[in-house]
């Protein structure tokens, strides 16, 4: 089983969001970057579990510059066998997916796992784009995958509930909550990660299809209106007459 897991960096979930350069760039000053949680907790860990039960290898792939290396080492410490970094700026989902698809096209991966979205751009497009570029079947927002020979069974979130599915390899999935439990790297993993292979490859030179031209923050929330807990029932009236939501 040859498994590829797509890993992206994201600001820590407690980061205060601010912008620089006339609100055209995310302010990275003092920001702690982590492996995007959906990529790490769900896609990577499930990939490792499948490798542990079926044999094979888990490779991670990241599109971006050397500033990504610390989070790639973290993925290696958790247990990935080796890593690839495609050395180009990752600011467009189309470009990222095309670069990954171009890299993966002749490597014979059986399964390509992505997180369902990054917590900074919330696009959720890379997995589906890779699937189409490689002409593989795609399961979006998968919460479960089991592989028995060539028989792949999955569960995924759908409108109003969940679906149990069957699919064949090779395939691409985007992983949602439920797929696996977070793993904390141990000291042995951290030591071993230092000597694992992190291959830096040149991009195939795909062009971006979109660019961010500006950021903005939501309007400040108006003051909270407090209601006396003794007369909590007043709230229902306020929601009806003032907020007009019921």
């Amino acid at each position: 089983m040859k498994i590829l897991v797509c890993i992206s960096k994201a600001p820590d979930t407690t980061t205060k969001i601010a912008f620089t350069d006339g609100d055209t760039k995310f302010n990275e000053a003092g920001v702690q970057f982590i492996v995007n949680p959906y990529d790490e907790w769900y896609a990577l860990v499930r990939g490792l579990e499948l490798k542990e039960s079926l044999g094979g290898s888990v490779t991670t792939v990241t599109v971006g510059g050397a500033e990504n290396d610390p989070i790639i080492r973290k993925a290696l410490a958790i247990g990935a066998d080796d890593a690839v970094r495609i050395d180009t700026e990752a600011n467009d989902a189309f470009l990222v997916a095309k670069e990954i698809a171009n890299y993966a096209s002749d490597k014979g991966y059986d399964l390509i796992l992505c997180g369902k979205e990054t917590i900074n751009y919330n696009g959720g497009q890379v997995a589906g784009l890779i699937a189409e570029f490689l002409d593989y079947p795609f399961v979006s927002q998968a919460t479960k995958i089991d592989i028995d020979g060539s028989n792949v069974t999955l569960e995924c979130d759908v409108q109003g509930g969940s679906a149990a599915l069957q699919c064949s390899l090779p395939m691409v999935l985007s992983a949602a909550k439920g797929m696996a439990e977070q793993r904390i790297p141990n000291m042995r993993g951290i030591m071993a990660a230092r000597s694992k292979k992190l291959e830096v490859v040149s991009p195939s030179g795909e062009a971006a299809t979109s660019e961010v031209i500006g950021y903005s923050l939501p309007d400040a929330k108006s003051e909270c209106k407090y209601i006396d807990p003794e007369n909590a029932g007043e709230l229902i009236e306020l929601l009806h007459n003032e907020a007009k939501v019921i």
């Binding site: 189309f94 969940s162 807990p229």
Partner: protein
């Protein structure tokens, strides 16, 4: 310029998020002086397709293939977009859109902006604003490709209905073989409960409720208001409530008109999943709970005393 909108159906009904997408597409089409063409895949009554005219569709192209393979649906959307010379394809950023939209973008060499929160601007190419950083900010994306795919964040725009009817055209494009088979569809919880992702009103609770046996009052309040129930991450993680109720950064993000949170402190990760709500009510014993900063209405008090009072008031309100 025609605008194509993928319109998802579930159990023979058009899903609410897709009605928003149809309306959004029709607004763009009328600005550009083109037609709004809805693409529907799967079996559904013709009357429900004609009714999409009410939301702004001029024409509905319907393929009755009941496939669940997003690859086949992407093929259908592309074929109809090409047949109509469309350079803009709209989806809802819901379960179906997340599965199909990227495949369409790849097939059409299109830039894709997912989670748009307002209509695109056309005075400097195509620029569209989307939600980023889990609802904590917005980014304006300029799309530089000839064809663009936009998916609309559910509950971001207000829709108006017109009473018009759409013409329905039957399509028989060969979609090839399905590579995905659905063996079972499970609806969550009991069938008559309101689906959290489509709910306009949500009542949510957290660790402050002390145990799963205390959720009765939350469910009662939700039922009286016609609301869905939700919960915070710790509560889902320890198994008090099912995972599909977990809202927050790593659960699901919701944007209801009303979000009532009892016994939830409002960690930044929870806020990320609910800060798109139009009105937020926070009930917490701790006046310093961070959630009050994001609240429109606050009650500093014990959920065990406050929620029963709300239940009483909701009963009187209904009567």
């Amino acid at each position: 310029m025609s605008v194509i909108v993928y319109t998802d159906i579930n159990n023979g009904e058009v899903v609410k998020a897709s009605l928003e997408a149809v309306y959004y597409a029709s607004k763009i089409a009328s600005e550009k002086g083109g037609e709004c063409i809805a693409v529907v895949c799967g079996e559904i009554d013709n009357s429900k397709l004609e009714a999409l005219g009410n939301y702004g569709a001029n024409k509905v192209v319907h393929n009755a293939n009941n496939t669940t393979d997003n690859g086949q649906k992407a093929k259908l959307v592309q074929s109809i977009a090409n047949a109509n010379g469309a350079s803009l394809v709209i989806f809802s950023h819901d379960f179906a859109g997340k599965a199909i939209a990227p495949r369409v973008a790849a097939r059409m060499n299109a830039g894709i902006v997912s989670g748009a929160v307002e209509l695109p601007q056309f005075n400097n190419g195509l620029v569209v604003k989307k939600s980023v950083f889990s609802g904590k900010a917005f980014a304006s994306y300029k799309v530089n490709s000839e064809v663009a795919v936009i998916s609309l964040l559910p509950n971001s725009i207000d829709i108006e209905t017109s009473g018009a009817s759409a013409s329905v055209e039957s399509d028989s494009t060969d979609l090839g073989d399905s590579r995905i088979t659905v063996s079972e569809l499970k609806t969550k919880g009991n069938g008559d409960k309101i689906d959290l992702t489509e709910a306009e009103l949500v009542v949510s609770a957290g660790r402050g409720l002390k145990g799963p046996e205390n959720w009765g009052m939350i469910e009662e309040l939700a039922e009286l208001l016609g609301a869905a129930t939700a919960c915070s991450r710790p509560v889902a993680d320890i198994g008090w409530r099912p995972h599909h109720e977990h809202v927050g950064q790593t659960g699901i993000a919701i944007r209801p008109n009303l979000y009532i949170a009892a016994g939830i402190s409002g960690a930044i990760q929870h806020l990320a999943g609910v800060n798109g709500s139009k009105v937020i009510v926070v009930i917490n014993t701790d006046p310093e709970a961070p959630f009050f900063k994001a609240a429109d209405y606050g009650i500093v008090g014990d959920a065990f005393e406050v929620v029963p009072k709300l239940v009483e008031a909701a009963k009187n309100f209904k009567a």
